[in-house]
Amino acid sequence: MTVNWALVWESLGPLLSGAIFGTIPLALASFGLGLILALLVALMRLSRNRLVSAIARTYISIIRGTPLLVQLFVIFYGLPSVGITISPWPSAIIAFSLNVGGYAAEVIRAAILSVPKGQWEAGHTIGMSRRQTLVRIILPQAARVSVPPLSNTFISLVKDTSLASLILVTELFRQAQQVAAFSQEFMLLYLEAAVIYWVICLVLAGGQSALEKRLDRYVAH
């Protein structure tokens, strides 16, 4: 098998542009919104109010219990039949954010619970309210614990954004599909796409190590 290097070179432009203008911003926006949602859901889940906690549990259960592809299709292809039409990009961001929100909520909840109870009490004894203690004492410590599992979530998300190609979002994988259909070089184009995903994830893993190092400065080794 000979490699068509000319095609690799030629297709690099569209694939990279799919990554830079599709995959990466899609992943960043969804992860950012998803994290905010996740923090909210985690706090709801930890609430003493049973109803609030039940709502959070149900949400997490639905998100984790249904395929991401189905969630994506319900939003993009399903909602128009009840009169709600959302274009591809917002549909993708909504679906991915909701998905991250469900998974990351459990990570954040576990991280909050991993901070010793004595830290809450120390916050209270210096006069802090629950909210102040949460923000200034508990969350910074929970953040450190949650970096590795949240990095996992982020890396999964980057790869999952390829599903957005199925609702017509122009991202890395859709670009690869189009060039492949045109050139009939399926193996080459899909492997090329795979390599680009891998490189993005390598960069993310590097970022994770740097962040862990930074947050570890107050921990004994």
Binding site: G118, E121, H124, T125, I126, R217, Y218
Partner: protein, 265 residues
């Protein structure tokens, strides 16, 4: 005075009382941890609580700091605040207790993600809204006084247990509380580090700080305490001057406990 109607205390309240507690009760589920505890702490007085584990002494302390909400009883800070724990209001009023007291924990509970200095100024700056420069100056002075000058920028994990507990004490002092609460402050320490922490507490007592100390250090209680309270099974078994309670107790249970601590085998 708080407008709360408090039940008439059934024991006379000393003139110079800072804190008066009557009929403190607390149960965890079916387990009654405190069965009607009375406590008087005068200004400048050191009260030590001793007793076997599970006797409720730590729970008393935690109630005084609002870390537990008792089921019944009345706590009164002289002329400032009366909390009747049997009312629904009490849950909000525990913040008033917190404002007036500060706790030093058995396991220090320093904030690991903050430096020593940040640990100390967190309450004064974030809660009491005092000027940061002033809080830092005060924190430096306090740290120097307990022998921790130069450790301001260390993180807790870089310190020994004794140093961490001294930071814990300074963190409490920086709040300028009326009452210091010590929950077994030396129980988690290696034996050779106990002395440095007890020395600091003793100096604070000599300076006139009012404090309630839960401890197993009978020698410390004998030297420093104005009153020793022996608790067992959620009740006060005996209270009085350390020379009496620790040397010549009236109650058999107190005698057994003291003997066991002095002659562990």
């Amino acid at each position: 005075m708080s407008p709360t109607d408090s039940p008439q205390p059934d024991a006379a309240v000393p003139e110079d009382a800072l804190l008066t507690v009557r009929g403190l009760r607390k149960a965890f589920g079916d387990h009654e941890v405190l069965k009607s505890i009375d406590l008087d702490v005068r200004r400048g007085e050191v009260v030590t609580l001793i007793g076997p584990s599970g006797s409720g002494k730590t729970t008393v302390l935690r109630c005084l700091n609002g870390l537990e909400v008792p089921d019944a009883g009345v706590a009164e800070f002289a002329g400032q605040l009366t909390v009747d724990f049997s009312t629904p209001m009490a849950k909000k009023q525990v913040y008033g207790l917190r404002d007036r007291s500060a706790m030093v924990f058995q396991h220090y509970n320093l904030f690991p993600h903050k430096t020593v200095l940040e640990n100390v100024i967190e309450g004064p700056v974030q809660v009491q809204k005092r000027a940061k420069a002033e809080a830092i100056q005060e924190a430096r002075d306090l740290l120097k006084r307990v022998g921790l000058a130069g450790k301001e920028n260390s993180y807790p994990f870089e310190l020994s247990g004794g140093q961490q507990q001294r930071v814990g004490i300074v963190r409490a002092l920086a709040l300028r509380p009326q009452l210091l609460l010590f929950d077994e402050p030396t129980s988690a320490l290696d034996p050779e580090l106990v002395g440095e922490v007890l020395t600091v507490i003793k100096e604070l007592a000599e300076e006139g700080w009012t404090m309630v100390v839960v401890t197993h250090e009978l020698a410390f209680a004998r030297q420093v305490a104005d009153e020793v309270i022996f608790m067992d099974g959620g009740v006060v078994v005996e209270r009085g001057h350390p020379d009496i309670v620790l040397r010549d107790p009236r109650e058999e249970r107190t005698r057994q406990f003291v003997d066991r601590l002095l002659n562990p085998f």
